[in-house]
């Protein structure tokens, strides 16, 4: 039965293990045939799955550049080799691209010829009845009253009303045919249509993703409470855009972070787990607009001028007032500290090159401070129940003039001298022991980090994915099948009818179609003696 039902090999290229022919044209055609064969598609799919694995095991630059640096530092021998072959950028590496591009070339080479064949199949009438209908795996034979023409017309109307494609014909009497009349019907063309639509939509997904990659951009920025942000390149902490984005012509929107609210779990279970983040902002689509209030939450981004502003993180920014040895205020601002753990033990630095002497502070901010015997100063709850800072002060050359770019979150103390160490509660002032000045910890603010993204391809991606899913469901749920009704005058009066079916898709069961036809023909007249055939 499987060789009968499995005639799907008539679509798509045939897998034939042929040897490469000589001659360059022949060789090219041979290679093309290999590339577009089902076996190659299968192997490329396996390769795609395999090639995706390393990127889930090794840290990736796109998502976690700091951990990549750490990995490289920890593995000085294998690290650079892996780096060279793109293992820290798997999904934009040439070998990953090679796999999916080959797959899509194969896909196109496979789908286009199948589309042409399918187009022809749709237009062609169903094939005539096989000569020996009763040999088919599902067949029935019985006698009904009425003459051949009536029976066949009735069968034909019934099939057509149930949206079968129908064709009537007569077996030739030549070549041993019996000259009987038949109706042939076929249904389920949308299976192949769905399959083709699915594969073509996959190409569309790829194109849409590429559009997003080429024309879209994405940036990250940290904004303190009370501060503003406007959408220009210089304001971003990190920014990346596609090849066709002009970074100096970004949409000119802006917003101010008015307040940031967080709430943490205080119950025994999952204590400290985040429960609510909410940023209240005022935004302007154009610099001249009046500000409009809006709320940004996780899962609820703000849409402005085609871009979307997502809330992705938050932290604390302690406020310091620093006086130098002359007693004049040399620093008076909040400083963004980056969280180091789930309880927001946060670290940051203050650099004051204009003080005399130049001062630098390395600090920890602890929202709920404890001094652990082993771990030292650490926070035990992410909310500010008992905020404190631990500072170490340095004086000397901050290294800012050396010309090498410095991180704002790290203090280069190589040519500095340590002055001392102190912990401060809000409102406390630390007079530096060597008379270099005073540091006052006046309090803290919160900051929120935003990802701002513009992806012109994402609607298209979603639409293509939806089309693909629709095609896929047609392709997997529709059964392609044929049935034939053959009628000849019965020797004992009435008409001898044969009904048989053939499934064209795997494991399809035709008994309900045949049952429907048998019931229809029998109920169209009084039941007649069945011919035992």
């Amino acid at each position: 039965m499987s060789n009968l039902t499995d005639d799907r090999r008539d679509v798509g290229p045939v897998d034939e293990p042929a040897l490469p022919p000589l001659g360059s044209v022949g060789l090219l055609r041979w290679m093309w045939r290999q590339l577009t064969s089902m076996r190659t598609a299968l192997i490329l799919l396996f390769l795609l799955a395999l090639a995706s694995i390393p990127g889930s095991v090794l840290p990736q630059r796109g998502t976690n550049p700091l951990r990549v640096d750490q990995w490289l530092a920890d593995n000085p021998t294998s690290g650079p080799v892996l780096d060279r072959f793109g293992f820290f950028d798997v999904y934009s590496s040439p070998w990953f691209a090679a796999v999916y591009l080959l797959l899509f070339i194969s896909l196109i080479g496979c789908v286009l010829p199948r589309t042409r064949l399918h187009w022809r199949a749709i237009k062609a009438p169903p094939p005539p009845a096989p000569r020996r209908l009763m040999r088919l795996p599902m067949a029935e034979e019985f006698v009904v009253p009425g003459d051949v023409d009536d029976v066949l017309a009735s069968a034909r109307d019934d099939l057509a009303s149930r949206r079968w494609r129908v064709r009537a014909g007569e077996s030739p009497t030549a070549n041993g045919g019996d000259g009987s009349c038949w109706v042939a019907a076929e249904k389920g063309y949308s299976r192949e249509t769905g399959n083709l639509v699915f594969h073509l939509a996959l190409i569309l997904v790829l194109v849409a993703v590429a559009v997003g990659g080429l024309f879209g951009w994405k940036g990250n920025v940290i904004v303190r409470e009370g501060s503003g942000f406007s959408n220009t390149l210089t304001q971003y902490d990190a920014w990346g855009g596609g090849r066709f984005v002009s970074p100096d012509a970004l949409a000119p929107f802006s917003f101010t972070l008015d307040t940031f609210t967080v709430d943490f779990e205080r119950g025994e279970a999952q204590r400290g787990a985040p429960r609510l983040f909410q940023a209240d902002v005022t935004y302007r689509a154009q610099p001249t607009d009046a500000g409009e209030p809006a709320t940004i939450q996780v899962n609820e981004p703000l849409s402005v001028d085609g871009a979307k502003v997502f809330l992705v993180g938050h932290g604390y920014a302690p406020h310091f007032v620093v006086r130098d040895s002359t007693g004049s205020v040399v620093f008076d601002d909040t400083v963004v500290f980056l969280p180091q753990d789930g309880n927001f033990t946060s670290s940051g630095v203050v650099k004051i090159p204009d003080a005399s002497p130049a001062l630098g502070l390395n600090g920890l901010f602890l929202p709920t401070a404890t001094l652990d015997d082993v771990l030292g100063p650490i926070s035990t709850f992410p909310g500010p129940d008992y905020p404190a800072v631990f500072l170490s002060a340095f004086k000397g050359d901050l290294g800012l003039d050396a010309g090498t770019p410095q991180s704002v979150y790290r203090l280069d103390t190589t040519s500095m001298e340590k002055i001392g160490l102190e912990s401060l509660l809000p409102g406390e002032t630390w007079t530096l022991p060597d008379g270099s000045g005073q540091v006052e910890f006046t309090g803290f603010q919160r900051w929120a980090s935003f990802q701002i993204a513009y992806d012109p391809g994402k609607e298209l991606t979603l639409a293509a994915a939806a089309v693909a899913l629709g095609g896929l469901m047609l392709s997997l749920f529709v059964r392609r099948r044929r049935i034939w009704v053959k009628a000849v005058p019965s020797a004992g009066g009435g008409t001898l009818v044969q009904v048989a079916g053939l499934a064209r898709s795997e494991a399809a069961d035709l008994s309900d179609d045949i049952r429907a036809m048998v019931t229809h023909l029998e109920s169209n007249g009084p039941a007649a003696e069945r011919n035992p055939g």
């Binding site: 798997v90 899962n299 701002i452 003696e529």
Partner: protein, 321 residues
């Protein structure tokens, strides 16, 4: 009921489920042991065309009446009944958990796992309506029991609210689709595994009837057809689950796809099952090889579920310990 009582009732229901499933497992195992002497598979209930008297009757055959129940079948029937019972006690446990937490019961790995076990049992029982799947019971009850065992030992978490990233109705859509897929993929892996064993025994028997416990499971060809049907149903659902997840990710993080480990393994699972669907119509890849691909796809699904949640630093690490 007070909150504490709700929590205890939910836990009690989960433990009761495990006890009932253990007995079901023993019953199914016994039915295999007792069936040893039979040499042919149990009659399958399938649609066939049948003629009777003067009219053509196309009907489902009645189960042979008055045949005395052999001990193996009785044990399998007990197993089926207990599996139904376990499904309802577990459903109760999941619902009570949700009432206690005041939200969908999908906030952490413990809750995902008990719901996944419910999915495994649910898909199996739904499929068993209208066909005889008693032979499959053992291979469904074992993974369900293992999942529950993991849940109550390693993964247990007190109910708590959802972290903000999980507060989205896409969560409900995405997770419910994924849980049904978990059940169906597990079932497909079970039938694929059985078909591998069967086809080996069939080759050994060399045309003769397979004997021993494997005589109670359908032929490898039938098992492959079943696997195929299951995957044909599940693959679009999994596609949908991945798309829903991407929409959710876009809402939460500003990108619909970021090759986060969880997303990567969802993709790998998808690609492997796509490969399976291709293998069905690729010369030389039907049969055993295709079954192996199903098992590989299921492995990718499991790696995503346990491995990535627990071991890998991912945006999706809400294991909640």
């Amino acid at each position: 009921m007070t909150s504490i009582e709700l929590a205890q009732a939910s836990n009690a229901a989960v433990y009761a489920t495990m006890i009932v499933l253990s007995i079901a497992m023993v019953s199914f195992a016994v039915s295999f042991a007792l069936g040893r002497r039979r040499t042919a598979a149990l009659p399958q209930r399938v649609d066939v065309l049948q003629s009777a008297g003067s009219t053509v009757v196309i009907d489902r055959p009645e189960p042979p009446a008055e045949v005395p129940l052999e001990p193996g079948r009785r044990a399998a029937n007990i197993g089926m009944s207990l599996t139904w019972l376990a499904f309802f006690t577990l459903l109760l446990g999941v619902v009570l958990r949700g009432i206690w937490a005041g939200r969908v019961p999908w906030g952490n790995m413990y809750e995902f796992s008990i719901t996944a076990a419910l999915g495994i049992l649910g898909v199996f029982l739904a499929m068993s309506i209208g066909r005889d799947l008693r032979w499959l019971g053992l291979f469904v009850v074992i993974p369900a029991l293992l999942t529950l065992g993991m849940a109550v030992t390693v993964l247990y978490t007190e109910a708590a609210q959802l972290v903000p990233a999980l507060k989205s109705y896409w969560l409900v859509i995405h997770v419910s689709a994924a849980i049904i897929c978990a059940g169906a993929f597990t079932l497909a892996a079970a039938t694929a595994g059985l078909s591998l064993v069967r086809s080996r025994l069939e080759r050994k028997a060399g045309g003769a009837d397979v004997t021993g416990w494997a005589a109670r499971v359908p032929s490898s060809e039938k098992l492959q057809t079943m696997t195929n049907r299951t995957i044909a149903f599940t693959f679009p659902l999994w596609t949908f689950a991945v798309v829903a997840g991407a929409i959710w990710a876009e809402n939460a993080w500003g990108r619909y796809w970021g090759w986060d480990p969880k997303e990567t393994w969802a993709f790998i699972t998808w690609v492997v099952f796509a490969a399976y669907l291709h293998a069905r119509s690729t010369a030389g890849w039907r049969g055993d090889r295709a079954s192996w691909i199903v098992i590989a796809g299921w492995a990718a699904f499991i790696i995503n579920y346990f491995g990535v949640n627990i071991f890998v630093n991912s945006l999706h690490s809400y294991a909640g310990t």
